[in-house]
């Protein structure tokens, strides 16, 4: 496990002072646009990513929401020791204490889904232990002592569950978990007790939105124990036609049942979305072509771009790309643009706080720069 890898040294890195502004920006850009975003997995034209999170607590220690700062510190230390004991397993992981990084960099981590918004707000003695490829991580002192997270591109729920479970076994070599014979893994929140498993998929469903079928589908999801959120957690902000579907039930179903249920429903959503795309193509190919072409035009030439606007534009271009109407741009580029144009990432890239208006200017500039490459 690396204590301080240069990839994760935030903007305070003194060595950066010796570099040119452009040099610093390039290095920061590399951190934002990690390899993960280039990845294309199965069904990547609808499923952006699959994620599995396991909540665990260590026996005989207060859960983080009620623990004092000292108790949180003890947990952090205990987790460090556990990771050090399993050194071989964690040689490619980096350990990042959240107390030591700036607010902007925390926002970057939230925007990349590597930590939760809660952890960015309340982070006394919290830490992130993240593998180099950014697909596997452990959040320490979030709502529970340990949140193991595996996030993979495309539809790969089974793989994500297996990877997270393996890491869970590895931690368990050293730690005794709070576990109850009848209730399973004991968590701070009653909504996660049992398996402690939250599986989710991030979906791009533009055709279901355009054809106004999405509300009917959202209603049906609730009936099968799944919940739909915006892509940044507990909100219903569906900007950019991006949706996150996850399981609600964690007690009474096995882990396999949980991910398989989500997998089955995701397959159905993919089919529905593809049918809707086909329908739109048959109705008027030119109209769709026009939609993505206009979006690309605005992205290339706009001078002021809001975050919601750019997310909608990226969605329009992505739809064109998936239908073969747009060329010369890759899904990876769009994924990177989606990350780069978020407020935290933009400010991190420039190395300073930006006002809302400055962000809009910078966003437009970065989009153009990216598309010109």
């Amino acid at each position: 496990m690396k204590e301080k890898d240069e990839r994760w040294i935030p903007e305070r890195d003194p060595s950066m002072g010796e570099h040119t502004q452009a040099g610093c920006e390039n290095r920061r850009l590399e951190k934002i646009c990690s390899k993960f975003l280039e990845g294309t997995g199965p069904e990547a034209d609808v499923v952006i990513s699959s994620r599995v999170r396991l909540a665990r607590n260590i026996r005989d220690h207060l859960f983080p929401p009620l623990a004092s700062n000292l108790q949180r510190k003890n947990i952090l230390q205990l987790c460090r020791e556990i990771l050090q004991e399993e050194e071989e397993q964690f040689s490619r992981f980096q350990f990042l204490e959240l107390d030591s990084i700036s607010g902007v960099f925390k926002q970057v981590l939230v925007e990349k889904h590597l930590i939760s918004p809660l952890m960015a707000r309340e982070n006394v003695c919290s830490a992130l232990c993240l593998r180099e490829d950014e697909t596997l991580g452990i959040m320490i002192n979030e709502e529970d002592h340990i949140h193991i997270q595996c996030m993979l591109p495309g539809l790969q729920l089974e793989q994500a569950w297996q990877e997270a479970s393996l890491l869970d076994d590895c931690l368990e070599n050293q730690a005794s978990y709070a576990f109850h014979e009848e209730l399973g893994y004991l968590t701070a929140c009653p909504t996660t007790v049992g398996t402690g498993l939250r599986a989710s998929v991030m979906l791009h469903l533009p055709a279901l939105v355009i054809t106004r079928q999405i509300n009917r589908i959202l209603f049906a999801l609730n009936k099968v124990g799944l919940v739909l959120q915006g892509i940044y957690g507990e909100s219903t902000d569906f900007t950019g036609n991006l949706f996150q579907v996850s399981n609600q039930i964690t007690l009474g179903q096995s882990e396999d049942e949980i991910w398989q249920n989500l997998y089955g429903v995701t397959r159905q959503l993919i089919n529905q979305e593809k049918k809707a795309r086909e329908h739109l193509l048959n109705e008027g190919r030119e109209r769709l072509d026009d939609r993505s072409g206009r979006a690309l035009g605005v992205m290339r030439y706009a001078r002021v771009l809001g975050v919601q606007e750019v997310m909608q534009l990226i969605s329009d271009v992505r739809l064109g790309l998936d239908l073969g109407l747009v060329r010369d741009i890759s899904a990876g580029t769009l994924n990177k643009l989606l990350a780069l144009t978020q407020p935290g990432c933009l400010q991190y890239l420039k190395g300073r706080e930006l006002s809302a208006y400055e962000q809009d200017l910078e966003r437009a500039a970065q989009v153009q720069k990216f598309l010109d490459c």
């Binding site: 220690h61 209730l183 399973g184 968590t187 009653p190 398996t195 902000d237 007690l251």
Partner: protein
């Protein structure tokens, strides 16, 4: 235009509030607007989950109507972390693993509402008492056996019965638990 609050920075956030028919206009800089809470997302940026099951459990936010729960239960306190059931209702979080025992009487109904079940059927920690693991495995196999019998798949049912017998023998022989950090 200069910010009306700090009188220093440029006002970049402009908004109008109409409360009880009275209209007020504000022109603030970003930091003053944020301080005033005017730059928050509409609806507070998310659905407060704890409020959801505070209400579900019969509590109302603010703790003013604790009377909705039987008096005997709101006062129950966890001996380990000191959290009372009333506080649990307000924050929606347990304080420690012992809370599950302390509030045991009140929880089945909540779990049924949240999960439709009160029984874990998934993974078991490797270092758990081997007896616990065997008991759970046997219980799951018995459920499966009943299903197979109902389906009249007798060959598979017989195989399951044999596996159950084998596990029961193992359980009688006894298992050991491991030790770890924590």
């Amino acid at each position: 235009m200069i910010c009306e609050k700090c009188d220093k920075k440029n006002a970049t956030v402009h908004f109008t509030k109409i409360i009880h028919g009275k209209k007020t206009e504000w022109h603030l800089c970003e930091s003053c607007a944020r301080e005033k809470g005017e730059l928050e997302r509409p609806f507070g940026g998310g659905f407060p989950l704890h409020q959801f099951f505070s209400e579900m459990m019969g509590f109302m936010p603010g703790g003013s109507s604790d009377k909705l729960l039987p008096q005997a239960q709101t006062g129950v306190q966890c001996s380990c972390c000191g959290l009372t059931y009333a506080q649990f209702g307000q924050i929606g979080r347990f304080g420690c693993e012992n809370c599950y025992e302390a509030f045991a009487k009140c929880l089945p109904a909540l779990f049924r509402k949240l999960h439709g079940s009160q029984k874990h059927r998934g993974k078991i920690p490797l270092r758990t008492d081997k007896g616990v693991k065997l008991r759970k495995d046997i219980a799951l196999l018995r459920e499966e056996l009943q299903r197979k019998i109902a389906e009249e798949a007798f060959e598979e049912a017989a195989a399951l019965r044999d596996r159950i017998k084998k596990l029961e023998k193992e359980r009688e022989a006894g298992g050991a638990a491991g030790e770890g950090k924590g």
